[in-house]
Amino acid sequence: MKRIQKISLELVAIGLGVLFFIPLYLLIINSFKSHAEILRTPLAFPGIDVGVDNILRAVKQMNIGHAYATTFSIGFVAVMIAISFSALAGYALARLEHPVFRLMYWVFLAGILLPIPSLIIPLVFVLKALGLGNTFIGISFAYAAIISPFAIFVYCGFFRTIPRELEEAAFIDGCSPVRAFIQIVLPLMKPVTATLVILQFIYVWNDILFPLVLVNSADYPTVGIALWKFFGSRGRTDLSLLFGGSSLVLIPVLVMFLSFQRFFVKGLVAGAIKG
């Protein structure tokens, strides 16, 4: 009886996994098929005649190198700023019980819930007024600002799980708070930082709203926008090319996610539950 129950649970799990996997599966296999093949047998494995031809054609037509470089540099700068600032703030919020810091915790938390579409139009004018309209620095800092509330929240939750005795012992020995942070806390932050870096980089990589509105897409073609335009200019006449282009945008984040996913559960959960 127990055994049957166990097996049926496994089967349900496998079924659900397959269901969730179908879209990704379609994307991957159809990237290696011709347009006619996709229409005729969408679910079948590809033959060997097309190979990476779709992807190579998409590389050329999307000018993907430029898009990769643009998106990667925006994401890199935004995530670096957001992560370093948020780690500091999260640490302060987790350790200080002063009412000012308690209030700040709620202020930062409110930042997570601000709907980005409601910020975006006024943000255009704020950036213009600062002389940062249509600039690399402008969009990177704007990204840093909108992804940092979540990072603060997760860091704060994480620091609360670290016993403060370690630092208190150091203070007794005459260590300054800054040194305690650098020497004791910083080395413990690796898993949670890895999680945040990946999640937030993926957010920037996938976003289309900011590059659509804040910058000129000819000057800063991010991957999302490049793909969006690529689709727009082609309609549905050549599915093989569209699947190839989609794979180009997806592959970097998928690789990144798979190589870091072992940190995921630990890193995310600390902030969400204990926070």
């Binding site: 500091l88 810091f101 700040m104 601000l114 800054v178 289309i208 945008v249």
Partner: protein, 293 residues
């Protein structure tokens, strides 16, 4: 001595991020509030016209519809994602062999770029050639031609379904962690006292995972209310504006009808909507928690 030093170090630690957020979050919200009372067109001079913009947008039927639609999407995303997420998390918590792989697969939709997801789903949900309809036809043995994204009545449920599919990963991770915190001793004691599975779930598991539920419902609500890119990439807000959310409406006011006043007024309305929903929800949770303990 160290206390005072700690305080000022703390101030120094939060200042950079605070400056960043004031400049790029608080100032824009304020700007949207101030300019929502003007007839500014993006350049040149402007006058303050009081509540005229709000009066205009709220008497625009398409705006009211998009407001209502945004709220519907927010709540149905939150409810569906949490019911399904909790069930999946309970399944994954049963220490089954395929659990790790499933957890990974369920997370993947969350990292797929929205433009790509929209493309794949448009392909899957196409009325005539989409795999969903073809699959249903085979299953039921009769031709099924449901226009999932091409008719106004189906497009919102389709958007919600895709949004739930995207959100499942983070929600399940949080539920799994919450479930692992449920006291096994308590569950065993209840079992000895003759409590059934449902009774145990309602009286022990549910109160224990309440913080996780709060976080997850907020994730669902926040993501549903701010949704822009998914309907934008899936249908462009169509057909006939049937999947236009407030986010899309703001964009249209600003860039397609060049009416900044309307855009700012609807932007500020969206901010207020998000704040109201959050505050009401958090209050309800507080009351529930006080009632339980």
């Amino acid at each position: 001595m160290i206390r005072k030093q700690m305080f000022w170090t703390g101030v120094a630690f939060i200042t950079p991020v605070l400056a960043l957020q004031i400049l790029f979050l608080l100032v824009p919200v304020t700007v949207s509030l101030v300019y929502s009372f003007t007839n500014w067109r993006g350049i040149g001079t402007y006058q303050f016209i009081g509540l005229d913009n709000y009066r205009s947008i709220f008497s625009d039927a398409s705006y009211i519809n998009s407001l209502r639609r945004t709220i519907v999407i927010g709540f149905s995303t939150a409810i569906a994602a949490n019911l399904l997420g909790l069930m999946l998390a309970i399944l994954l918590d049963q220490s089954i062999k395929t659990g790790k792989l499933l957890r990974l697969l369920v997370y993947v939709p969350n990292i797929i770029p929205v433009v790509v997801s929209a493309f794949i789903w448009r392909y899957l949900l196409d009325a005539n050639t989409g795999l969903v309809n073809l699959g249903l036809s085979k299953l039921l043995g009769l031709p099924v031609v449901i226009p999932w994204i091409d008719t106004p009545s189906y497009v919102v449920p389709s958007v919600v379904t895709i949004a739930v599919w995207q959100l499942m990963g983070p929600i399940i991770i949080i539920y799994i962690a919450a479930l692992q915190g449920v006291s096994v001793d308590l569950l065993e004691a209840a079992a000895i006292d003759g409590a059934g599975a449902i009774r145990k779930f309602l009286s022990i598991t549910l109160p224990a995972i309440a913080p996780g539920i709060t976080v997850n419902v907020l994730i669902g609500l926040a993501n549903g209310i701010r949704i822009f890119d998914l309907p934008w990439a899936l249908t462009g807000g169509g057909p006939a504006g049937a999947s236009e959310t407030l986010g899309i409406k703001i964009y249209r006011y600003a860039f397609q009808s060049a009416n900044l006043g309307y855009a700012m007024a609807s932007a500020f309305t969206l901010t207020c909507l998000a704040i109201c929903v959050t505050v009401v929800f958090v209050r309800l949770v507080r009351r529930y928690e006080l009632g339980v303990t």
